[in-house]
Symmetry: C2
C-alpha cells in the first residue's frame, strides 16, 4: 500500500518535472501535533511518529526521524521500500545535505510551502540557488492521491476564564505591544496555535490532545485581527466582540499580510514560508509570547498543584489496580491504559488526554514513543515492567507523568537500571542552582548515573509543559547539547514548568522511564546571587519494588522519603481506605 | 602617588583634548601575563591583579576587574581616588557601557591601539561613530609619566626538542597550512606568543612564568616570517636556518602586513587593532593553533605524567614540612611559599614557577588571587588554613596545583566547607560523559555541593593548561556560563588538560581551594557513542584532617582512597623514609 502510494507520487513528480519532493510533519502553523487533515506524511509513509520528514526522489524514498523513534520507524517502514535515516547518528546525512546531494543542477525541489517554516524555507532556497534549481511550493501535489482526506478541523472555541489562566487578554496584549514598541514593530504576525490560544485566552478542540483553535492572528498597535472560521466562534462571539477583535476568514491572512504598512514582527522559525514571503518589512524575532506563556503566573501554578493532585490520584489508583490484579485476569497494554484513562475521566474539569498514551510492556517500552495498536498489543504478565507515560488536559493545566510499574520478578540488572534512572530523576529534581543556569547546565545531574554505567537515552531529559496547551512547550527544557531548532535552552525562570524524565531503553528487552514535572522557584538570595530550585508537582508514588536501595546516597534516599511522604499525605485522604492503606505501604519511610 | 599619576594623566588628556583614556592589561599580543614594560595599568592604578582595565575621564577614574580580584582591588585602590567597578555584579556598568555613557558627543576616546584587540577595537569604533567622536590610538600618552619604565624584554630563545613536545615544527606547519587551504587563506598572521612558541617549537624567557619569545609571525604557503629581535636568536640560529624561517625586526610586521597580497587569516580577538587595520583582505577566524596546542599529543601527556610526579613530590615534601613545623618556629606566608619554591627548584628540568604563587593564610585566602607582599605578609599560626596555589614550568610541561593545608584546629563550619569543596573537585574528576560535552555541561558536578549550601565561587571551575606555556590556555575549561571572550567552552577532546578547582571564599574569614589537573581521555565506545573520562595527573595528598567523612558518599570516599593510593605508590619510593611513612599515614584507606 505504502509502496504504491510512493510510486503514484513519483509518477506525479515525473509529470510535473519535480526531482525531489519533501513532506514535512507540520501543519500550516508549525504545530507539533496536527489535526488529521495534515497527516500527509503518515498517509504516504505509514510512519506515525510525531516527528519525521519524508523525502522522495524519482527513484528513492527516505524518512528522517530522531532517536525517540528509531525502533518504531524501523518496524513501520518494513517492506515499504522507504529507507530510514537515523538523525544524529554518525555518518547519517541530514535532510538538507541529502537534498543538496540529490537535487540535480537545474532541477526542481517541491513541497507544500505552508508546511515549512520561513527559516527552513530560506535554507532550501539557498540550496536551490546553488543548483540553479526551481522551487514548486504553491501546491500539495500529493493531495489528489489521498481519497477521503479528512476535512480541516471545525470545533467550537471556548474562553479560558481568568480564574484558570490568571491574566486577562488585555493585560497580555499590553505586554506584547510593549515588546512590539521595544523592537519597533507596528504589527505582529502570530501563527503558532498555542501562542494564539494563550494570548487570546481561548481554547478549542481542533487538534487532538492540544486544545487550540486553528487560526492565524495579527496584533496591531490598537487592533487584533483573528483569521479563523467564524463557525468556531458561536459560543464566544460576545467575548470576541467585547475585546474588539476583528474576525477574518482563515485563508484571508495571506492577502491581508501583504497590505500591512510598517514593520512586522514575526518568527521565521514559526511563520510558514508562503506567509513569510508576504511580509514586506519584517523584524525577525521569536514570538514574545513564547517566554511569557512559559512563565506560569501564580494562579496557574496554584491551579497546576490542584491539577496534579487529581492526575496523581488517577495514576495512583491505576497502579494500585494493576499491582493487585496482574496475573488474576488478562490485562493488555491497551486495557491497562484504558483503565487509567477511565480514572482520569472521573476527575473534575478534565477535558481529554494530553497526548497519545504510551503504555508499553517490557521490550515494547524500549521504543521511546511506542503506541500500542489493537491486535498487536502485548499482554501484561506477572513479571517485568509496564511503562506508562500519559497525561491529561484539565482547566487547571496539562499534565505529563511516567511511571514504570513492576509486575513481578525482575532481574538484578533491570533493578539496577531502574535505580539509576530514579537517581538521575531525583538528583535533577533536588538541584539548587544560581539564576542564569539553563537546562544544559543541569542535564548531567539526571544523566550521570546512567553515563557512569555506559548507558544514555537518545533524547533530552525534559521539556517545558504548556497550561491547557501543548505538552511540549518552548523555551525551557533539559538537554546537554544546544539544539537551536528545539529552542529549549533558555535561562530557567521562576514559574517555568519542565519535566524530568531520564530513561533506559534496551532494544528487544526493556524500557524504563520515571517522569515528574518540576516548577522552577526562587530559593534564597545572597551575595552570590539568586539561587533557584525546583518544586516537584507530580503527585504519584514511585515503585519501590524495583529500587536497589544500596545504590542510593543518603541525600537520594531522603529525597525519595520526603517525596513519598508528601504523596501519601496529599492523596490518602482522597482515596478509599484500602487504597490509602496500600499507598502507605508503598510510600512509607525506607 | 597613584592620585598624582592619575592627575598628571588627566592634565595630558586636557592638553590633548582627550575625554576618555583607557589603559588595558594586555601587551601588543593580548598576552595574559605581560613583561614589566607593558604594566602601564599597574603603574597608573596600583592594582596588580592579572586582569583589569583602567578608564580615566578628565574628572574621574575607574578600574574594572572580575570576581577573582574584588577583595584585592578594594584594598589596592584604597585612597587612590579610583573607583572599583565589580564586573558581572548586578547594576555595574561594563567598560563599553561606561564609555558609551561618558564619552561626549564630538569628543575623543584614546588608548594605545596596540594593546586592544581588533574585535574590541571595532566595538570602541562603533561607540565613537555613534557619538561622532574621534579616536586617538597611535600613541601611549602616559608613556612620559613613567620614569625608568622597564625596557622591552630581551632574552635568549631556545628550541623545545621533539622528545619534549612530540611533534616537529614542519609537521605543525603542515597542519596549519592544511587549515589555511581549507579556509582559502594565503597568509596567516599569528601574534599570540604561546601560539608562536607552540608552532615553532621555541621557547624564551621574555615573560615571567610564561616561557615565550615576544615576536610576531606570518605563515605563508611556503615561507614563515618571524618578527623578532635577532639578538634573541643567538642560540638557535642554526635551527632557524634549517627551517628556512625569514627573520625580520620586531616592529617591521606593521609595514610587512600591508604588503600582503591575498587572503589573510587572522583572529580579530587576538591581533591588535593597529595591526588588524593593516590587513587588507582578512579572513577572521580563531587561530587554528589554539585547538591544536590544547590537544596534547601522547608524548606530551606522558611527559606531563612525569612532570606531575616531580611537582607533586615538591608539594608533598612542602606539606610534610609545614605540618611538622607549624608552631615550632615562625613561618610566614612568604617563607612557606619560598620553601615550596626551593623544593621545586630541586627537581630535574625545572625552569621557573608557572605563575605568581598564591600562599595565603585564613582571611587572606578569601582573596582568590592574593599575593603576599613583603612587610604585610601574615604569619602562619597553628590553627586554620594555609592555601597554596602554585605551579612550575618544566621541560615536561606546566603544572598548576592548589592544596589547602590544615595547620591546627578548625571549626566544624570550615571543615564542612572544605569537604564540600573536595566533593565538588572529586565529582567532576570522576565524571563519565558522552563525547560532545563541554565544560558548561559538567561544571555543576563541581559546584553542586556548594550551591546546595548557598555558596558559590565567582569564577570558572577550571581552565586549560599549556605545555611549558601559559598556565591558562584556551579553548577548554569548566564554566557554567558561556563567556565568549573567555573562549573556554569548547567540546572536550582527548588530550586536553584542564584544572578542576572549586573553592569557598568567605571575606574576612577564610579561603579554601583544592585543585587538580585532569587529562581528558577516551573511555568506552558503544551504541550510545564515545564515552569520555578524566585522568587525574596531579600527584599530591589532599589534607584529610579537614574532611568531614560523614558528608562523603561511598563513591566519593572510594575515589579519594583510590587517588591517595596512587599518590602513595607513586611518590613514596622517591621520598626519604620518614616522609614516606608520613605520606602513608595521610593517604591510607579511610
Amino acid at each position: 500500500m505504502i509502496r504504491s502510494r510512493i510510486e503514484a507520487l513519483q509518477t506525479i513528480m515525473k509529470e510535473k518535472h519535480i526531482d525531489v519532493w519533501m513532506v514535512c510533519t507540520a501543519d500550516y502553523h508549525q504545530s507539533e501535533y496536527v489535526s488529521d487533515y495534515f497527516k500527509m506524511r503518515v498517509f504516504l509513509s505509514g510512519f506515525t511518529g510525531s516527528a519525521g520528514t519524508l523525502i522522495v526522489t524519482q527513484d528513492h524514498a527516505g524518512l528522517w526521524t530522531d532517536g525517540r523513534y528509531f525502533i518504531q520507524a524501523e518496524k513501520q517502514l518494513e517492506n515499504s521500500g522507504i529507507e530510514l535515516y537515523r538523525m544524529g547518528e554518525e555518518g547519517v546525512e541530514d535532510t538538507l545535505t541529502f537534498i543538496q546531494n540529490r537535487l540535480p543542477v537545474g532541477g526542481t525541489l517541491g513541497f507544500d510551502g505552508r508546511t515549512v517554516s520561513s527559516a527552513y524555507g530560506k535554507q532550501l532556497t539557498a540550496i536551490c540557488e546553488s543548483k540553479q534549481a526551481s522551487m514548486a511550493i504553491e501546491e500539495d501535489i500529493a493531495d489528489g492521491l489521498w481519497e477521503n482526506r479528512p476535512a480541516l478541523p471545525l470545533t467550537k472555541a471556548f474562553v479560558l476564564e481568568e480564574k484558570w489562566c490568571g491574566e486577562s487578554c488585555s493585560s497580555k496584549l499590553a505586554r506584547v505591544r510593549k515588546y512590539m514598541d521595544e523592537v519597533g514593530a507596528n504589527y505582529h504576525v502570530l501563527t503558532t496555535l498555542d501562542d494564539i490560544a494563550w494570548l487570546l485566552n481561548v481554547r478549542g478542540r481542533d487538534i487532538n490532545s492540544c486544545p487550540v483553535v486553528v487560526s492565524y492572528c495579527v496584533v496591531g498597535k490598537n487592533e487584533v485581527h483573528w483569521f479563523v472560521d467564524s463557525n468556531k466562534l458561536v459560543d464566544i462571539q460576545e467575548y470576541v466582540n467585547t475585546l474588539g477583535i476583528c474576525v477574518h476568514g482563515y485563508d484571508e491572512v495571506y492577502d491581508f499580510v501583504k497590505t500591512l504598512d510598517g514593520h512586522v514582527l514575526y518568527d521565521p522559525n514559526k511563520v510558514n514560508l508562503l506567509l513569510g514571503k508576504s511580509i514586506a518589512c519584517g523584524i525577525e524575532k521569536e514570538n514574545p509570547t513564547v517566554l511569557m506563556k512559559a512563565i506560569k503566573n501564580e494562579v496557574e501554578v496554584e491551579n497546576l498543584r490542584k491539577c496534579h493532585i487529581k492526575d496523581g490520584l488517577a495514576v495512583t489508583r491505576f497502579i494500585y489496580w494493576l499491582k493487585k490484579n496482574i496475573g488474576k485476569f488478562e490485562i493488555t497494554e491497551i486495557t491497562a491504559s484504558d483503565y487509567l484513562d477511565e480514572r482520569r475521566k472521573e476527575q473534575e474539569n478534565y477535558l481529554e488526554s494530553g497526548f497519545g498514551v504510551i503504555g508499553a510492556y517490557n521490550a515494547n517500552a524500549a521504543m521511546m514513543h511506542y503506541s500500542a495498536q489493537k491486535g498487536s498489543e502485548a499482554t501484561l504478565e506477572p513479571h517485568g515492567f509496564y511503562l506508562i507515560d500519559s497525561g491529561g488536559q484539565y482547566y487547571e493545566g496539562t499534565t505529563d507523568i511516567t511511571r514504570t510499574v513492576v509486575l513481578g520478578p525482575i532481574s538484578d540488572e533491570w533493578k539496577m537500571h531502574y535505580t539509576q534512572v530514579l537517581r538521575g530523576m531525583m538528583n535533577l529534581s533536588r538541584a539548587k542552582f544560581l539564576y542564569g543556569c539553563r537546562g544544559m547546565n543541569l542535564d548531567i545531574l539526571a544523566r550521570e548515573p546512567l553515563w557512569n554505567i555506559g548507558i544514555d537515552y537518545k533524547c533530552g531529559t525534559g521539556h517545558g509543559v504548556g497550561y491547557l496547551l501543548s505538552v511540549h512547550e518552548a523555551p525551557n527544557g533539559f538537554r546537554w547539547r544546544i539544539v537551536p531548532e528545539r529552542n529549549d535552552s533558555c535561562v530557567l525562570e521562576e514559574g517555568m514548568v519542565t519535566t524530568v524524565e531520564p530513561g533506559v531503553y534496551i532494544e528487544g528487552s526493556h524500557g524504563i522511564r520515571i517522569e515528574n514535572e518540576l516548577v522552577c522557584r526562587k530559593g534564597s538570595k545572597n551575595e552570590y546571587g539568586q539561587f533557584m530550585e525546583f518544586e516537584t508537582i507530580t503527585m504519584a508514588p514511585i515503585d519501590v519494588d524495583a529500587i536497589d536501595f544500596s545504590l542510593l546516597s543518603k541525600e537520594e534516599l531522603a529525597f525519595l522519603n520526603a517525596y513519598h511522604k508528601t504523596v501519601y499525605e496529599t492523596l490518602s485522604p482522597l482515596l478509599p481506605k484500602e487504597e490509602a492503606d496500600w499507598l502507605y505501604e508503598v510510600t512509607c519511610e525506607r
